[in-house]
């Protein structure tokens, strides 16, 4: 049976279709503020109805990229195409994009109702239609009974909903979300993430979200662009980003991972063909089943996620490959998972995570225990960048 990467959220992948026309295209975009380059010669396609995330640490240029699409900043070089049309020089108030601001930017002197109606009023829609649309929006975000309140009479979560309703009221072609859930607590954030996904499917809009929260990006997106220092490091689906990161940076940024530096000892196949690669990581012999991206003696990194590493006090049958022995140095109990930090004889630390599938354990592993860590051939991957 053919293996694939992770669960598929929905049958939607226009980016794999070479004939698909991108809805939004950033074409060789560079943005400089004085001597600082915020976005560096970046090209990116986003498709219609896609839920797309820009993910990266603060200062990586993700917000600048979004603000250029909204029209608050003009690119220094390059152009932005929306449905094939260059939108450079078009002021924000004439762009078919709407943005949900990180601070929500609700108008404090207007009621919830008025806030939501604001964008519609700018289009000079008839009063009746505005009222219907506002009501529709209030219902959508479940704030019907708060219509007459002012923003300062609402809780953080309610304000966030008003901001969302206001940005959706005009039915924009693209909804931009700038760290939309940053101010909410974890429970509410998770709930809202699923609501956002629901909304996006229901309304059939294109969503572009900026976030530094990788879990949020993974949950909501069809595709994620991981950014660093104004560059895009990888654009892929959440499962690909997690299971097949293309570089040490992406692997390390998304989730928890063990990275062991090493050299290629033997490749079982030609470049680009599937096979088994053997790597020597300073005394640890590692074998990986993967499409080969390196040749013998290349400096590479071996990366394996902690949850794919098995921890056991018993010696495995084969200790010559994909197995290390060490002392339990620290344990992080997370409830659903326990993370074990195992210190090898040479001082390197390898992490293993174990799902706490039963409430009671026969032989619990504790501090100071000597344990074996093993992982199968297809658990890890070789990173060449």
């Amino acid at each position: 049976m053919a293996k694939s990467l992770g669960p598929v959220k929905r049958k939607f992948s226009p980016w794999t279709d070479p004939s698909a026309v991108p809805f939004i295209r950033f074409e060789n975009i560079t943005k400089r503020f004085g001597t600082f380059t915020a976005v560096d010669n970046l090209t990116l396609d986003i498709y219609e109805r896609e839920f797309f995330s820009l993910l990266g640490p603060s200062g990586c240029g993700k917000t600048t990229l979004m603000r250029m699409l909204a029209g608050f900043e003009e690119p220094t070089e390059g152009r932005i195409l929306l449905q094939g049309k260059d939108i450079s020089g078009v002021p924000p108030y004439r762009r078919p994009t709407n943005m949900m601001f990180q601070s929500y930017a609700l108008f404090p002197h207007m009621t919830v109702e008025k806030n939501i109606a604001f964008g519609l009023e700018q289009d000079n829609l008839p009063k009746g239609e505005i009222a219907t649309r506002v009501e529709e929006m209030l219902k959508l975000v479940k704030l019907e009974q708060f219509a007459k309140r002012k923003p300062n009479q609402l809780s953080g979560g309610q304000r966030q909903r008003v901001a969302l309703a206001r940005s959706l009221a005009k039915r924009p072609k693209v909804l931009l979300l700038d760290e939309p859930l940053g101010a909410l607590d974890k429970k509410l954030r998770e709930e809202t993430q699923f609501e956002l996904m629901d909304l996006q499917t229901k309304l059939g809009l294109t969503f572009l979200i900026v976030t530094h929260d990788q879990e949020e990006a993974m949950t909501v997106s069809d595709r994620i662009a991981v950014m660093d220092k104004g560059l895009i490091m990888q654009v892929a689906t959440p499962a690909e980003i997690y299971e097949a990161p293309n570089s040490r940076y992406v692997a390390d940024f998304i989730g928890d991972i063990n990275i062991l530096e090493g050299t290629v000892a033997e490749t079982g196949s030609a470049l680009g063909a599937p096979g088994t690669v053997r790597i020597d990581c300073d005394g640890i012999a590692v074998s990986v089943e993967q499409e080969c991206q390196a040749v013998k003696a290349d400096k590479v990194a071996f990366a394996v996620r902690p949850e794919k590493v098995r921890i056991s006090p018993d010696q495995p049958s084969n200790t010559s490959v994909n197995a290390v022995y060490g002392e339990v140095w620290d344990i992080g109990y997370l409830g659903d998972f326990s993370v074990f930090l195992v210190k090898l004889a040479d001082g390197r630390v390898v992490r293993a995570a174990q799902a706490n599938v039963s409430r009671l354990v026969d032989r619990p592993i504790t501090f100071g225990d000597m344990v074996w860590l093993t992982w199968p051939l297809d658990a890890g991957l070789v990173l060449t960048r």
Partner: protein
């Protein structure tokens, strides 16, 4: 407040606390309430050729009966008889309203420009607005005489650039125009500072949000910026309007014989006619007239805080 102080142990009344609270009240009592009562008392007496120039109204506690029977509202009735006073009041209000409007018209753009200036530049700009206070108010008004008088600097300037012939002169001095110029000049900082503080607090992303929702900048000003600066507009207007109504120095120095302002009338009654009781009555009415805008002002301040 009372219920809080009862329930919270830290809020139990203690003497030191009362002392601190009492200071402003004692201050107001000594320097506002007491003088006002004295003025009010004088306004109810009659002119006399004496030192001070009015009949004593209250001679010890034995004469309370006399006191009440001698209470005299003639001065107030006289104010309504002579159209001069009513005209002076109305003229003062007119000048105050027009000046306040002019101040808003000039002050708002300046305050807005200051609030939108780069953060580093703002303290300097505020400094520049306050700078005129370093010179005496009187000297600055006298300086305007030098500028506005017929053979003054303005005439010289206009003559030198050819706007005026060699024999023509600017005829502004001793007119209402000169009064407006003087008032607007003197009160501008009091208008700019509250406006600036209101505008500076405004979140710039609100304007971005408005623009994002399809609102062009000039429209966003009236929909977002102006409504949000209303507390500043009201504060600035009140701070200017109230003292302008009673203004005496500027109309006296720059205004003409026909510039009618209640402050000037008041001065004439006190020092020209030595009719202290009537002058006091004028002052009492002026104060009552200004209580209304002061109440509006305080009500607005309460809403803001």
């Amino acid at each position: 407040m009372a219920s809080v102080s009862e329930t919270h142990p830290a809020n139990k009344p203690n003497p030191a606390r009362w002392l601190v609270v009492a200071v402003p009240y004692v201050w107001l009592l000594l320097f506002f309430a007491a003088p006002f009562l004295i003025i009010f008392k004088i306004s109810l007496s009659e002119t006399a050729i004496a030192m001070p120039p009015y009949t004593p109204l209250f001679d010890g506690f034995g004469a309370i009966g006399d006191f009440v029977s001698e209470l005299d509202f003639d001065n107030y009735l006289f104010l309504t008889d002579d159209p001069l006073y009513i005209e002076a009041y109305l003229s003062s209000l007119r000048i105050a309203v027009i000046s306040t409007f002019l101040l808003l018209l000039i002050g708002y753009p300046m305050a807005l420009a200051m609030a939108r200036a780069p953060t580093m530049l703002r303290p300097t700009l505020v400094m520049l607005v306050i700078l005129p206070f370093w010179t005496s108010f009187l000297i600055r008004v006298y300086a305007w005489i030098g500028i506005l008088k017929p053979d003054g600097l303005l005439t010289l300037l206009f003559q030198s650039v050819g706007l005026l012939g060699a024999d023509d002169q600017v005829q502004i001095f001793r007119t209402d125009y000169a009064v407006f110029i003087g008032i607007v000049y003197s009160y501008l900082p009091f208008m700019i500072l509250p406006l600036y503080s209101a505008l500076e607090k405004m979140d710039n992303t609100l304007l971005e949000a408005a623009s994002d929702l399809g609102c062009p900048p000039w429209k966003a000003f009236w929909k977002i910026t102006f409504p949000l600066s209303l507390p500043g507009v009201i504060a600035g207007s009140m701070i200017c309007f109230i003292p302008i109504t009673g203004e005496f120095v500027i109309p006296d120095l720059l205004g003409g014989a026909d510039t009618l302002m209640i402050g000037k009338t008041l001065w004439t009654e006190f020092f020209g006619n030595r009719d202290w009781p009537l002058a006091s009555a004028v002052a009492v009415i002026l104060l009552i007239m200004l209580v209304v805008p002061i109440m509006i002002f305080q009500n607005q301040q309460k809403k803001v805080t």
